[in-house]
Subunit: 228 residues, 2 copies
């Protein structure tokens, strides 16, 4: 069954100055890869900033979003990244009020890294389990002592709110969301598509070229004097 | 020991139209997190496009790089992402020639995803082990039959060239490179910093809020009628 175009459901990722790059671009890649390869699922993903202008991320990368808050389509899933830019947001009454308004309309509110601290400041995590960057777990409790902090999980799914741990945990959360919105099979297809099979921490040792070739079809020892 | 400013070593990530977003931003996050938190190591990372202008990535994200090829500092490590934009590069004689010139000056040439196909077209992978996106492994051989294709690895380290598999494998490669350039301990610190502890494929099942709270300090059953 093909989903009619006007039935497209939208995932929106907020971007802002001093946002942590991978907090946004990790989930972006997961959702966008899914939307591109499985258009019949009927989902789209977009990015937006408060005024629609470009943002300078925490590590200095500049991203030009697709929309402003005024032009972004009605969202089915909202994602709030983290980063140093969240510090000011904790006391930005208009941003917190805007978040509370989103809560009234958006079925699934999600955060990555210290994005959860902004949710906490807006009161969205009251009496709920949640996580954030491991260096900000205490801050969650300071912002709202009713939050049940869950260390040691890549993300915490509380139904209509999902919070992820630090930075790359947003990728795990996004794959989980794809699974929730569709099927485990689809989530695995996206995981395979982006080849998310991370390896254990490497010591970065250089394995001489001859070693990985040994036993391979076409393998032959290279003479030390042979040019590459 | 503090490294003098003029001894800074540079990692450069090329960006281009139809580049796959995470191919670049995954390694960017790893390298930038490292450079920010361990400035004494003396490394910096930057991005650049051919003309210094913004690029529109494969999934439609727009990124404004820091430099053009004319202004980027001399590189110690070069990273070539993949994506649909590499297709045209395979027959872009000036880009391939530029890559061969980089090879003469840059000690460590690296690629993510189909970035390896461009290296292959430039002749950089002749008689070497390499990998690429799993859907492009055959293409590597078609471009240069002497390449020893290595499926099933997140990256292939051949000393002065490292090629990564698809999309998110660039994160694994970048952590490996940090380890090679410094120590295993440093690589693990960066891995911990970005909380790269990916979970197995999830079925996205919603675990009711009460479950994760059970047994936690402060846990209490929420009445079904209690507002959140």
């Amino acid at each position: 069954m093909t989903t009619p175009i006007d039935a497209t459901r939208h995932i929106g990722i907020l971007v802002f100055d001093q946002m942590e790059e991978l907090d946004a671009v990790g989930p972006w890649e997961v959702f966008a890869w899914w939307a591109q390869h499985f258009q019949g699922d009927g989902w789209a993903v977009t990015t937006f900033s408060a005024d629609g202008g470009p943002v300078t991320c925490e590590k200095t990368l500049v991203i030009q979003p697709h929309h402003s808050t005024a032009t972004v389509p009605p969202l089915d899933v909202f994602l709030h990244p983290g980063g140093d830019g969240t510090r000011g947001m904790l006391e930005d009454a208009s941003h917190l009020q805007w978040l509370r308004e989103q809560r009234q309309h958006v079925p699934l509110m999600t955060s990555v890294c210290t994005g959860a601290t902004v949710f906490a400041a807006a009161g969205l995590l009251h009496d709920r389990p949640a996580t954030t960057n491991r260096t900000a777990l205490d801050q969650l409790t300071r912002l709202d002592e009713t939050i049940i902090v869950k260390p040691g999980q890549q993300y915490v799914d509380d139904g209509d709110i999902i919070t992820a741990a630090g930075i790359s945990a947003g990728i795990d959360m996004a794959l989980h969301i794809v699974g929730r919105l569709t099927t485990l099979e689809r989530s695995r297809q996206v995981r395979d598509g982006i080849e998310y099979y991370p390896e254990p921490a490497s010591d970065g040792e250089y394995v001489p070229a001859a070693d990985p070739r040994a036993g391979q079809p076409g393998y032959r020892e290279r003479s030390p004097t042979e040019s590459t």
